[in-house]
């Protein structure tokens, strides 16, 4: 907490390190650019340390994934990537069900994402813009169900899937996640502000049915929020662990259950395990690097509304 001792500066030029900013008018508070204090070198140093701590385990995983087993545990430790990444990847695909797992995870996460975005937008539209009896109460129910820890119903859910003959099938993972309370509420909050009533009224006057209004007015307006929801949903589905672990078996795994199987085996080959972990991380990492700004924005907006 030492950084708090910096003075609150209203005039950046008055500070010793402020000379590179002297040409500019000082920005005021409340513009969303922070609390007004300029970040000094100490703040940057702390943030860089935080960043390093955040990134290191992921980086380390890629380092190990590119080494031979005997490089692990050397003193001093090897901290830079080696040249064996592709050998190790080949080994993972050779010795485990990882190719199948990647395909399965892609099917599961892709289907869930499309479905959650579609049904959430539809329901969010109804809750935000259509009048019907019980709307308020039903919305409260949606919000309240968010707080319910679904996974505690895992035993009857498993019994049910066995009865359906879905145990160890992908639909057992997909179907329960087709639409989520979070998605419905998220889209409602966005559409409430993004779609003006006048536009819907005009559409009605022109004889549009509700469904046509949805397709031609709501869906185009919903795109930015739908994209953020899609990113969140895909990453959540990709990383989902508990339920796939329960209902799928090792012959038909997702990436996460394949990792679990690998960790539960008797392999002491860390390069194999961490190569698999790295492969499992790549898709979410790519999404995160490409859309990090939107994801950060989604979390911060959700925080304000929640």
């Amino acid at each position: 907490m030492t950084t708090l001792s910096q003075p609150a500066v209203s005039d950046p030029a008055a500070r010793g390190d402020g000379n590179r900013r002297t040409g500019r008018a000082p920005r005021r508070r409340g513009t969303g650019h922070g609390d007004g204090r300029i970040a000094g070198p100490w703040v940057y140093a702390c943030l860089l340390a935080v960043l390093l701590g955040s990134a290191f385990p992921v980086y380390w995983s890629f380092v190990v994934a590119s080494q031979t087993p005997d490089a692990i545990g050397k003193v001093p430790p090897v901290l830079v990537p080696g040249g064996h990444l592709f050998d190790n990847i080949a080994k993972v695909f050779d010795q485990t069900e990882f190719a199948l797992a990647l395909g399965n995870s892609l099917i599961v996460s892709g289907t869930i994402t499309v479905s959650v975005v579609f049904f959430s937008t539809l329901a969010g539209f109804a809750f935000a813009k259509l009048r019907f009896r019980g709307r308020g109460l039903l919305l409260v129910v949606v919000v309240a169900t968010q707080a319910i820890p679904h996974e505690l119903g895992v035993i009857p859910l498993f019994m049910m899937m066995s009865d359906f003959g879905w145990a160890s099938e992908l639909q057992a993972v997909i179907v329960p996640s087709l639409v989520t309370a979070f998605g419905v509420f998220f889209m409602r909050q966005y559409l409430d502000r993004a779609v003006p009533y006048e536009l819907l009224e005009a559409g009605r006057m022109d004889g549009c049915s509700t469904l046509r209004l949805f397709w031609h007015v709501v869906v185009p307006a919903a795109r930015p929020a739908a994209a953020v929801l899609g990113l969140f949903t895909f990453m959540t589905a990709w990383n989902d662990f508990f339920w796939p672990l329960v209902v799928l078996d090792d012959d038909n795994p997702t990436v996460q259950t394949a990792l679990s199987a690998l960790a539960s085996g008797y392999t002491t080959d860390y390069t194999l395990v961490l190569t698999a972990a790295s492969i499992a991380t790549v898709p979410v990492l790519v999404i995160f690097l490409a859309f990090g700004r939107q994801i950060v924005g989604g979390i911060m907006q959700g925080a304000v509304k929640g």
């Binding site: 539209f125 820890p149 329960p176 004889g207 990792l259 925080a303």
Partner: protein, 321 residues
């Protein structure tokens, strides 16, 4: 965006002049009933795959029931609960671990997140880079992260032990000890969630109107005073919210302790880091004791709902203050 096409408005006027009763009825049906159709998917999915299993858990928890003989399920009343509460040291062990893990994760996590949030709340260059950087741990998968940390905390070849050894502190068998294993798990949880909470806190900080700080600055309050007397009090509900997320998250902790022990569901040889959720998993899906597992699930549910309910009351009280 107004893709309502002109020709259709012509159709609508002609429909107004002729007496199309059917169209009217259709319109009324559309306006009145279609909203229910649009929200139905959520309620159907939630009802069938969320609520029903949860309610049925209560029913199963009153039975003795195993996977292989569904016909052999029989009614035992509250026996599962009395066994759990009064004769099951494993259950209380798991609850105790949940509490110590709570202390080891929630407090450092919230303090760290507050510290990071106020760093991020400065006028920064490359703001987005730093915000993304702190969030990175949160988007990686639990399974992958646990495997990475299991290596880092490895007894013989782990990087952390190599470092300890280099400083002459000796190697620690992280998985074996109660305190050391829980510290290792806490590091994973804190690493994963601190950045997320920091962003939530940052949003709460930025929602505080700048005029409040301006007034304080004019009155001569230092940055430190402003942080403790303005920022923290105005973020109380965000802090309570984070505490609850962290608390209920801890009760559901499963992947970390499972994979840290190499897939063994007991949470270490002495159950030194078995959590409530892991005990549920072990009972139901390693021993296939569904009745007893359901009773564990019900007690966890009650605990989580209690915590959430208390949170709700506390938050409401804070908001009305």
């Amino acid at each position: 965006m107004t893709t309502t096409t002109p020709p259709r408005s012509g159709a609508a006027t002609s429909a107004d002049t002729s007496p199309p009763r059917r169209r009217d009825r259709w319109y009324r049906w559309d306006v009145r009933l279609s909203p229910y159709l649009y929200i139905a998917p959520y309620f159907v999915i939630f009802g069938v795959f969320g609520l029903y299993p949860l309610l049925y858990t209560a029913w199963v928890s009153l039975q003795e029931r195993a996977l292989n003989d569904p016909e052999g399920a029989h009614w035992v009343g509250l026996d599962n609960y009395t066994r759990l509460l009064f004769h099951d040291p494993y259950f209380w062990n798991a609850m105790g671990n949940t509490i110590s893990l709570w202390l080891l994760t929630t407090i450092p996590q919230i303090l760290l997140a507050l510290w990071i949030a106020q760093l991020l709340n400065r006028r920064l260059r490359s703001r987005t880079l730093f915000r993304m950087g702190v969030l990175l741990p949160n988007v990686t998968s639990v399974a992958a992260v646990t495997l990475i940390f299991a290596q880092l905390f490895g007894r013989d070849f782990g990087l952390i032990n190599l470092a300890l050894d280099a400083f002459g502190l000796g190697k620690i068998d992280w998985v074996a000890g109660t305190a050391s294993s829980q510290v290792a798990l806490a590091v994973m949880v804190v690493w994963r969630w601190t950045g997320y909470h920091a962003l939530v806190f940052l949003a709460a900080m930025q929602a505080i109107p700048g005029s409040v700080y301006e007034a304080a600055t004019i009155d001569g309050a230092s940055a430190r005073q402003q942080f403790w007397h303005i920022t923290i009090p105005m973020m109380r509900s965000a802090i309570v919210f984070a505490t609850i997320i962290s608390t209920t998250g801890n009760m559901r902790l499963l992947a970390e302790p499972l994979l840290f022990a190499g897939g063994v569901a007991s949470g270490g040889s002495d159950r030194q880091f078995q959590t409530g959720a892991l005990y549920l998993y072990e009972t139901a899906f390693r021993q296939f004791d569904f009745g007893y597992g359901s009773a564990i699930a019900m007690l966890l549910l009650i605990a989580i709902l209690l915590v959430t309910g208390v949170n709700y009351l506390v938050t409401r009280r804070i908001r009305t203050d």
